[in-house]
Symmetry: C2
Subunit: 311 residues, 2 copies
């Protein structure tokens, strides 16, 4: 089968054998995948990554232990957890110290014709959702994670920095959750996507919560400057290099900098099924797997939104 | 009167006029003052400071609007707040955007024979407390601030990094509050001060909360590495230069980095009056105001604990 490979900051497409399914796992045939900024960072050397990337996907189960799953259209949680440690038993398998992570950490990713995942990671995609919507489940879950960590932020003034893929989703999710969201970006046409759900563009004053989704090392200092004393800054940017930050305002204003990663799929899938989040206008381009190198180059273009990969 | 002055990274003692007392203020005659790491950082250029430093003191009120205060031995909250903004009315005047700060921000400090503070900032020192104990009220309040921000941490595993003045106080305060505190430092004889209240020295495994009181730019990365997923790192170090930090583990482990500054005096004074915190073994040396330059040099020596200044 065709599969994408990253090694030593290079990317190519190779012929690989179809993955074998271990007990408890499903073998899934890819229908659609999405390129995330984390994938671009992996190519730049984040994590010293070498292997098959890809963690945003929609597919159909071809084989599984349970007949229930066969033929189902699914998305899947990306953390493969041990299931028995304290983290796992408390429902936080995404922090399991023995976890592997689809396309990121020791589990081959979704940029291939077939992939495998444990059956317990799977969620059926409602019939009303298109592949093009469902493929956003993982980044929407990452946006929802902010609410799991900080609460719904109902009525709070929230600034979201960055009108990239993740920034647009975060702004929409938090606005729909009841926050007063102000989005700061550079592209009026992108910010218009979030304005459709009531997100404000720009704004003055200090914010209760600021989310850095700029993807740049400079975003964090900007976020700290915009946040009120005792406020919270959510770090959503995956940046490969160390960040240099003047900690004096963080300490003087007693700000909390909150690292935030991936989230639960179930609430994200519900939000998508509700049809309230505008994801289709975020699709910028589409390539087949064999054109992965071009697809990654396209996704890395300044201002490019979601690039999809098809088998 | 004699007063200490810092300007352009130099320190000297000058003859200054005795400060005039504005309405609502008390004029206080100094009895004892303490040199804090923040003072050393001010001398190194933190905040671009120029003026009279000093914010840890015990004194006697000589003049005030209210006869109640005259003759009383006092310590004083260091933030001079407007009293009318939202922060002030919610009891958080230490975040008032119009505040000045004793010896740090636009209000002359305590390293002088006389100082002034608003009467509402004053707290009477219980007769049972010596000057040498009461002068620790400000740094003990800074340690208590962690409990105000994070809760009592009862039963939680807490690592405190740094066996300097603040680290020793934080370790004691959190241990007395019910946390299981592990202190990490380099000097067995200093750590023994905290061991007296049950603090453990060193320890393995990950911690729920880690407090960086190393005073070094490298402390934060160490703290992040020692903290469990979803745990909290408290930043108590005042470092003049920007800190370079790999944010990947902060994001992957979803750690919160919590800036923490100064705290309320009342709980600190109660703790000191209870006699449970060992502060006297922390006194390393004592100089008179006229020897301030030597006193600062002594306080800046590696491993030196509290240096006191007398009028």
């Amino acid at each position: 089968m065709q599969a994408v490979r990253i090694c030593d900051k290079r990317i190519w497409v190779e012929q690989a054998s179809r993955p074998r399914r271990a007990t408890g796992f499903a073998r899934i045939r890819l229908r659609l995948a999405g390129i995330c900024n984390t994938d671009l960072e992996l190519l730049r050397g984040y994590y010293g990554f070498a292997g098959r990337p890809g963690h945003e996907f929609v597919g159909v189960v071809e084989e599984a232990d349970s007949a229930f799953w066969v033929g189902k259209r699914v998305v899947g949680e990306i953390n493969l957890a041990c299931g028995s440690c304290d983290w796992c038993t408390s429902g936080l398998g995404r922090h399991c110290p023995r976890r592997t992570v689809l396309g990121i950490l020791r589990h081959p990713g979704a940029f291939a014709e077939w992939l495998t995942l444990p059956e317990e990671n799977l969620l059926e995609v409602p019939a009303s959702l298109s592949d093009e919507e469902a493929v956003f489940c993982e980044p929407v879950a990452a946006a929802c994670e902010i609410q799991e960590q900080l609460g719904r932020l109902r009525g709070e003034r929230v600034a979201v920095l960055g009108d990239g893929k993740l920034g647009l989703l975060i702004a929409q999710v938090l606005q729909l959750g009841g926050a007063q969201v102000h989005l700061f970006g550079r592209h009026a046409e992108k910010m218009a996507i979030a304005e459709a759900v009531g997100v404000r563009v720009g704004g003055a004053g200090e914010f209760d919560v600021t989310v850095d989704a700029t993807g740049s090392a400079a975003g964090l200092a900007t976020a700290v400057g915009m946040t009120r004393a005792r406020g919270r800054v959510v770090m959503k940017s995956t940046v490969a290099e160390p960040v240099s930050l003047d900690m004096a305002p963080v300490i003087v204003k007693e700000i909390s900098l909150v690292g935030s990663r991936c989230g639960r799929f179930a609430p994200a899938l519900r939000l998508l099924a509700g049809g309230k989040i505008a994801v289709r206008p975020m699709i910028a381009d589409r390539f087949c797997l064999g054109e992965a190198e071009r697809a990654f180059a396209r996704a890395a273009e300044r201002g490019c939104l979601k690039v999809l990969l098809t088998p």
